[in-house]
Symmetry: C2
Subunit: 144 residues, 2 copies
DNA sequence: TCTTTAGTATACAAATTCTATAGACTATAT
DNA sequence: ATATAGTCTATAGAATTTGTATACTAAAGA
């Protein structure tokens, strides 16, 4: 399961994607709109800023805005930043690899292949899901 | 990421699958072989027993053994028993469905479809991975 | 029937992770 | 100057995970 932090991040980013190139949005507005505790949201947005997904502007009229294009931010990137590894086993993670403690020998491990398969499919599906597509999909769905 | 409990369960079950129809194996032996804290393993095996995956025999010469056939136990079942939902969002879970707190309207949610896709692929891959196949795969790999 | 073996059950403790908050500080616009 | 709004560090509380202790029950066999 995704953490709350990650879900908050996704919703905040969708909110900002809907307002792409319309100037900075302040934290309080996002927090109110998405019902996210403000201080918690601050920490989240900061991380996204440090990862160059967002930019911010201080002072009056400041706030956060998307730095990357909505087509260039996908769910995989967000999940990795917030929750870490995508894979279900550390020994199968591309970005957060670690040998499994419980495992005696990776080469003869009978479950690794399956989890590599799951990881690859997850990666494929979620990397196709960009902010741009998500926003578009929500527009279509809300018109029905 | 899978919990330790779940990984312990998988390893214990593989151990028992390798000894299918060779009589009960006691907890201590499994604990030693797989380096699992005995008391923790007891709790795990008990749950698997209550789920009719294992049976046990008390008293001298007792222990645990597979009740289901190795071909009939797959990774999905084990993960569900130990860790609960497979899905990355509660609103997308088949067996542990709950509406997402953060979500305003499931019908217009732009990310749901992607996570349904991930869930289905995960289900497909991990339900094909049975104890029988895992044991077989380990034999093949260890001969190389 | 008594003893030993081994699983069952309940309760609890330690460790870790997740969620949330507080407060002082810094930059910017007007 | 001053009000606005993001930055940074620290920490507190809650929940979950992992592991342990103790007492109890069932079965096997001498």
């Amino acid at each position: 399961m995704l953490s709350k932090k990650c879900k908050y991040a996704i919703h905040a980013l969708i909110y900002l994607a809907e307002r792409y190139q319309q100037g900075p949005v302040h934290i309080q507005e996002i927090a109110d709109a998405q019902r996210i505790p403000k201080k918690f949201l601050e920490a989240i947005l900061l991380e996204l800023r440090n990862a160059k997904v967002l930019h911010s502007k201080k002072g009056k009229g400041g706030g956060y805005y998307l730095y990357k294009k909505p087509e260039e931010v996908n769910l995989i990137e967000i999940i990795r930043l917030m929750d870490g590894a995508i894979a279900m086993l550390p020994c199968v993670s591309l970005n957060y690899y670690e040998p499994c403690e419980e495992c005696k020998d990776e080469k003869t491990c009978g479950i690794r292949d399956s989890f590599i398969g799951v990881r690859d499919e997850t990666l494929r599906i979620l990397s196709e899901s960009t902010l741009a597509k998500i926003v578009k999909r929500e527009k279509v769905l809300s018109k029905k």
